[in-house]
Amino acid sequence: MHANDPEGAEARYQAQLNEGRFLIQRCNECDKYVFYPRVVCPHCGGASLAWVEPKGTGAVYSTTTVRRKAEAGGDYDVSLIELDEGVRMMSRVEGVAPAEVKIGMRVRAKVVDDKGAGLVVFTAEEAK
């Protein structure tokens, strides 16, 4: 995208997610992957960032179980996922108990509906 695009990177990222597509950026000048989406590359300062489809696979870099009362919905997972492209994002791992999410676990991205907005979550690869 270019600095004079009518739509910002954050808005475009979310619009894509709302259509079920998870895209990240790669800088056209330094070739590095970028997440979260920006209009200026944090690695080289370039303003030409292309949208690319990640492989969708990665590994749990760190994880915590947030403790919550059962009546409020119970415990849930918050994890940092390192995509195979090398960028890291906060997300959650679904399909296994929060306590079963472990650092190093291989995971795969999927886009779910979160109160009407697209959201990237992950599932354990073994569970697929």
């Binding site: 954050e10 979310q14 979260y36 870099y61 760190s62 994880t63 915590t64 179980t65 947030v66 403790r67 849930y76 918050v78 994890s79 940092l80 890291r88 994002m89 906060m90 997300s91 959650r92 306590a99 650092i103 190093g104 979160d114 907005a117 959201l119």
Partner: protein, 391 residues
């Protein structure tokens, strides 16, 4: 001019705290005013002598305006940068530069929060902050911040280096043992490692005891040029150096979860002071969570990377241990009103003055202060302080 040229040119001349613990019915600004009055009088000065001001608040974007109006001062130098709780350590360098340049003659650094007892409570303030300062790539996953971000850091540290929950508990117990020697500390009941380990889990691997207190409290200190400080009421505490490093906002933006910006701020601060970790008699580390103390001990060079857990074992940083760390009880057991940097600075100054009673580290002439800010060790500011004997 370099950082080294400022070595010892500026001193802390007065300190004060107020409203620590619970300050029922008081506002942030009211307890800040009381702390400021105590600090100014401690220096033997008056409020109208304060022609420089450093202050910040989590809820007000233009907080210095609130403070100047309330205190009735008209500073020639004002610094309102908010990089989280490290701010009130990081305020030192700009204040040192302004004082050294003669822009002003006395700088008041001050902070106050009644987060614990405020009618407009923590839940509402937290929600308002997210509204005004969105975190769109983290908020949908509902991290319980700041605990969850530091929990992610701790979990990674445990994975990479074999750090254990027992190591984290050692930090909490050491802080409590110091607090038991400090009449100003909020939590003074006995605490042992098993109690920490078996307590209510907040965000794994942290139980409630791995997390800082939620208290009210205000802190203020006065900085002047060293030659003026010598003629004031109290023994001057010289600032040998101050350096700040700011790397990221969120835990998702950290390159290595186990390495904090204090690797950089510490290196610069020690180099300018001409001293190293081995020369520090007393150490005040901003312990928002138990892992912070371990990270700072490693990143400041008191031990190697990954060795912080074993370093704190067997009461090594508790009273009577090999290194006195957080002698007031820290954010974990003494006081933590949202942002703690000024309190760490004041405890270092009190130790160097020899005013600490039962918890006094005998003969301390040097002190290290390490401020921590943000939801994930985002900012760090390191100072080396000393008495005239160590100048």
């Amino acid at each position: 001019m370099s950082l080294k040229d400022l070595r010892g040119k500026i001193a802390i001349a007065g300190v004060g705290t107020a409203g620590c613990g619970e300050a029922h019915g008081m506002s942030d600004l009211e307890i800040l005013s009381l702390a400021a009055k105590i600090a100014v009088e401690d220096a033997g000065l008056s409020m109208k002598d304060m022609d420089g001001l450093c202050t910040a608040n989590l809820n007000a974007a233009m907080w210095p305006l609130n403070v100047v109006e309330c205190l009735g001062i008209r500073p020639k130098f004002v610094e309102g940068t908010n990089i989280g709780g490290a701010a009130f350590v990081a305020h030192q360098l700009p204040a040192m530069l302004a004082l050294d340049a003669g822009v002003c003659d006395a700088v008041l650094v001050c902070y106050g929060s009644t987060q614990r007892t405020a009618a407009f409570g923590r839940k509402e303030r937290g929600a308002a902050r997210i509204l005004l300062d969105p975190d769109p790539f983290q908020s949908p996953y509902q991290p319980f911040n700041p605990p969850s971000s530091y929990a992610l850091i701790a979990a990674r540290h445990m994975y990479q280096y074999g750090t254990t929950r027992r190591h984290l508990a050692e930090v909490a117990v050491a802080a409590r043992k110091w607090a038991q020697l400090n009449p100003e500390a909020f939590s003074r009941d006995p605490l042992d490692i098993d109690t920490v380990l078996k307590a209510r889990m907040i965000s794994d691997p942290f139980t409630a005891y791995d997390c800082c207190l939620v208290t009210d409290g205000a802190a203020a200190y006065v900085m002047t040029r060293a030659e003026r400080a010598k003629d004031l009421k109290k023994k001057p505490i010289y600032i040998l150096s101050n350096a700040t490093a700011v790397w990221h906002r969120s835990v998702s933006g950290m390159r290595d979860l186990t390495v904090t910006p204090s690797t950089e701020s510490g290196e610069r601060a020690f180099a300018a002071a001409g001293l190293g970790p081995k020369d520090m008699d007393v150490v005040q580390i901003y312990d928002a969570f138990s892992i912070n103390t371990i990270l700072a001990l490693e990143d400041l060079g008191f031990c190697g990377k990954g060795e912080g857990g074993p370093f704190v074992e067997n009461g090594a940083i508790a009273p009577g241990g090999r290194l006195p760390v957080n002698t007031n009880g820290g954010g974990l057991s003494c006081v933590h009103p949202n942002m703690y940097g000024a309190f760490a600075t004041i405890e270092a100054a009190r130790q160097l003055r020899g005013e600490c009673g039962e918890r006094q580290v005998k003969g301390a002439t040097t002190a290290l202060v390490n401020g921590n800010g943000g939801n994930s060790s985002s900012s760090q500011s390191t100072s080396v302080l000393a008495t005239a004997d160590a100048l």
